[in-house]
């Protein structure tokens, strides 16, 4: 098992190196002159040059890259110029917000899309099937930022059901003692029920926005995979043996149909992390996505590089976790490197 994990990690190294190189080059091509930006509105040409030297931007690209890689090996991702803090600290502080949101959306999406997919498969070509298809496809057809703003307008501004879109917690709550960085879990651990409720309320709208966006792939794959399994011999045998329809579907068919769904989850997760960038901006969510967008628009290299690197590592880890999950769901599957 451990060797397997180690081998998988080794295999991921080339693509992570690729990500580092591409990001580095991309950020250097960004049109803004960082030095001019940070030298302030009234800087003379000489002052801009001083800032350039101070930021190390007067060096040649290969030299800059070498020093960047050197810092990276020491675990130093540099400091953000816009927020003035080390990128590592900022990413560490913001990553839980993004992952909590993404995971919550993924869970919500599973809860809705998997049953829909099952029903659509069982009642193949019925109105439920068509409805599922139209409903989930409609969800993936709207720009997420638009859905988000619309939800805020309807559920906060008009109806007042949702709390103010002020980020992870209402202003007058303090965050629970940090343990996992996930407010929902931390507040439960600390038995702060009020905080838990407040955090859940803040999480609701962004979660729904993201979940709507990810229903389609999950429902689609569940349906396809269920259709395959329902047509297989063992299901026919089980039915012939007189087992009730519900038992057959839930106990035999669904469990076997689960594998492709889990494979898709990895893809959906990274897809959601991308969509996150826009949702975070709409809901003032203090996650890594909004951080990276701001940095990119300010030609602030370090956070962009750090963000992309962290996302790439996360992507590798998630895929690894999914392979491991495979083994849990289906013991016959032997996980290979």
């Amino acid at each position: 098992m451990l060797t397997m994990i180690a081998r998988r990690m080794m295999l991921a190294i080339p693509s992570i190196v690729g990500v580092i190189v591409v990001t580095f080059l991309l950020t250097r091509v960004l049109p803004g002159d960082t030095a001019a930006y940070f030298a302030g509105p009234a800087a003379s040409a000489q002052a801009v040059e001083e800032v350039r030297v101070k930021l190390g931007l007067d060096q040649s690209i290969p030299v800059q890259f070498a020093s960047y890689v050197g810092d990276l090996l020491r675990g130093d991702l540099g400091a953000s110029l816009t927020t003035g803090r080390p990128v590592v600290t900022e990413l560490a502080a913001r990553l839980p917000a993004s992952t909590e949101l993404t995971l919550a959306a993924l869970l919500l999406s599973l809860v809705i899309a998997v049953p829909l997919g099952i029903i659509a498969a069982v009642r193949n070509d019925s109105w439920v099937d068509h409805f599922t298809r139209i409903f989930t496809t409609a969800g993936v057809s709207l720009p997420v930022f638009f859905t988000g703003l619309l939800f805020v307008y309807v559920f906060y501004f008009l109806l007042g059901w949702a709390p103010a879109p002020l980020g992870r917690l209402d202003v007058f709550y303090s965050s629970p003692p940090e343990w996992t960085g996930f407010f929902l879990i931390d507040s439960l651990v600390a038995r702060e029920w009020e905080t838990f409720r407040a955090a859940l309320a803040q999480l609701a709208l962004p979660t729904i926005t993201l979940a709507v966006f990810s229903l389609a792939p999950i429902a689609r794959i569940t349906r396809a995979s269920m259709l395959n399994v329902l047509a297989s011999d063992f299901v026919r045998t089980a039915r012939a043996a007189g087992l009730s329809g519900g038992t057959v579907v839930m106990r035999y068919a669904f469990r076997n149909a689960l594998l492709p769904v889990i494979t898709t989850l990895g893809m959906v997760f990274s897809f959601l992390l991308g969509a996150n960038v826009l949702v975070e901006k709409v809901f003032a969510w203090p996650g890594v996505g909004s951080y990276a967008v701001e940095a990119l628009l300010a030609s602030d290299y370090a956070p962009v590089q750090g963000f992309v690197l962290v996302m790439a590592i996360l992507y590798v880890l998630v895929n690894l976790a999914i392979d491991l999950l495979y083994g849990v769901v289906d013991p016959r599957m032997k996980v290979e490197g």
Binding site: A45, A47, T82, G167, A198, A204, K281, S290, V329
Partner: protein, 537 residues
């Protein structure tokens, strides 16, 4: 974990999240003493002396540090409190004595930094030395008031500091009341400085080390700043609000929703349209004040043909859709800077309206006289950071210029690159805003029109004649020669209008929206909030 329990536990987790999540909790007592401010962006540095501190960072500095002196308040054009350019009041200094070539300040005896140590003249000298030495914006701003060398700041005794003038300059004393010459706790910062960072900028970037009325107790960049009142503040009456929570909400629509639903106490940088509409409904208090010494203009690079031809520039000035911009882009929330009555005399003030107006026939005629009867093609650039105003404005300008044959392509420049682009001075046609902290016409013209060609002279305009007028005004001001001063101001304003390298369009408003129970807003030259005067009932 075996697969059965795994499936069960994940199902349980799913159930927990899917429960309906609609509660609206409120904690009434802490709301009363806390002010919730929302804005688009927040500070990137808590110290204005830092490298590249942004404008929200200035607000933190203003409220967390004291200066030697500050301005008195007067009633502004809209009836709200407005800083008095000409009247100073003591802040950390309890007494100011201005001589011919120096000024002496006596410090308050009871003034303490937030860590409890007393404020001494050595701290003041160290802070002013720091401002003129760190380079970048703070040093530049100090220079604007002829404050250039550490030798100018002399410690007389523990409570007394003298500022020597290197030349007579009317702007020296006003420049001591801007945000930059703030007084820093030198002992504390020196403890956290190192040979690579002798002024301790790394420390003050993240910590406030002043004697001001507020201190930053929590700061999550891009998300939130929390400030608490300094209970030992001695430089003025104790502020009413105990705690300020300042949250960054990127979406303007959401900020408006927060205001209208009463969740946020104050919001500025809303789109003009929001302010225009919120003024109409009586739930909120809206205060609009024109920018002091600031205009939005269309600039033309006079080094690039055909804008080197004055007739082309005048044609453009006659072709701009001024009133349409006032109505559709600004929703009336700005002072028009166009359409002064023909033949009306110039005033001794800046900004003031010019006599151009939308007159396409005249524009066509001027363009033909200049040798471009069929117009020409060019690029119109704007700063995407202010897209809310700039984009519709440029679309209207583009449309209007097309009517006299000038075809333009609109170029959106991301906020981070705008300054770089301005610095290159290669954009032929663009819109931009300039405003000066020090509200004196010659100050504006020195930066925007003078032949030294500073970054703010975005038109690359060079004219010996205007240089002479500007210099004459500066000398006259230093010598209190009112007649000569008035003449020089009229001279350079007049020349700027006939040569018209930049076409002033309007004087923007600073708009602040607050709940009815929030009061005490004051307009300052820096246009940011002064928390010390705010109240909440």
């Amino acid at each position: 974990m075996d697969r059965r329990t795994f499936l069960k536990s994940s199902a349980a987790a799913v159930g927990g999240v899917a429960a309906p999540a609609v509660w609206s909790p409120s904690k009434a007592q802490s709301r009363q003493e806390t002010l919730l401010i929302v804005s688009e962006s927040g500070p990137n540095n808590l110290d204005i002396h830092g490298v590249g501190t942004n404008v929200p960072g200035y607000e933190v500095s203003w409220n967390c540090y004291d200066r030697l002196i500050s301005h008195e308040m007067k009633t502004g054009p809209n009836g709200a409190p407005y800083y008095d350019r000409d009247k100073f009041k003591p802040e950390l200094a309890e007494d100011m004595n201005v001589g011919d070539m120096s000024a002496t300040f006596k410090l308050r005896k009871n003034a303490k930094f937030q860590d409890g140590s007393p404020v001494t003249a050595r701290d003041v000298k160290w802070s002013l030395d720091r401002a003129v030495s760190v380079g970048g914006f703070p040093t530049f701003q100090m220079k604007a008031g002829s404050l250039e060398k550490p030798e100018q700041f002399v410690v007389v005794d523990d409570q007394t500091i003298r500022v020597d003038f290197i030349r007579k300059d009317k702007l020296t004393i006003p420049d001591l009341a801007v945000i930059v010459p703030c007084i820093v706790n030198s002992e504390l910062v020196k403890k956290n400085a190192n040979p690579k960072d002798p002024w301790g900028l790394e420390y003050t970037k993240l910590n406030t080390a002043g004697s001001g009325a507020y201190k930053v107790t929590r700061w999550t960049p891009g998300t939130e700043v929390v400030l608490e009142r300094n209970e030992q503040w001695a430089s003025g009456p104790m502020p009413k609000v105990r705690r300020i929570i300042w949250r960054m909400i990127p979406s303007a629509g959401n900020r408006r929703a927060l205001l209208e639903r009463g969740d946020a106490d104050i919001s500025y940088d809303q789109p003009n349209k929001d302010f225009a509409e919120l003024k109409g409904n009586n739930k909120l208090r809206i205060i609009s004040t024109p920018y002091s010494n600031g205009i939005q203009y269309i600039g033309m690079n006079v080094k690039i043909a055909p804008f080197d031809n004055v007739k082309v520039r005048q044609a453009v000035a006659y072709a701009l859709p001024y009133q349409k911009i006032m109505d559709a882009v600004l929703f009336g929330l700005a002072e028009p800077m166009f359409g002064a009555k023909a033949g009306s005399p110039l005033e001794v003030k800046w900004p003031q309206p010019h006599q151009y107006n939308s007159d396409l026939a005249k524009a066509r005629q001027l363009l033909a006289e200049a040798g471009y009867p069929n117009g020409f093609e060019t690029t119109l650039s704007f700063d995407l950071g202010f897209a809310g105003i700039n984009e519709p404005l440029c679309i209207l300008v583009q449309e209007s210029l097309a009517l006299i044959g000038i075809k333009t392509t609109i170029n959106k420049v991301p906020g981070a690159n705008w300054r770089t682009e301005l610095n290159k001075k290669t954009m032929p046609l663009f819109t931009n805003v300039f405003s000066g902290w020090l509200d004196y016409p010659e100050y504006f013209f020195f930066w925007c029109y003078d032949g030294q060609n500073s970054v703010f002279n975005t038109m690359s305009y060079q004219s010996k004649q205007i240089d002479g007028y500007i210099e004459a005004a500066r000398v006259a001001a230093a010598n209190n020669d009112t007649a000569a001063y008035d003449k020089s101001v009229k001279d350079f304003v007049g020349l700027a209008f006939t040569d018209i390298p930049r076409i002033p369009m309007f004087q923007p408003y600073v708009n602040v929206a607050m709940q009815k129970n929030v009061d005490g807003y004051q307009y300052w030259f820096h246009r940011r909030l002064d928390y010390r005067a705010l109240t909440k009932s």
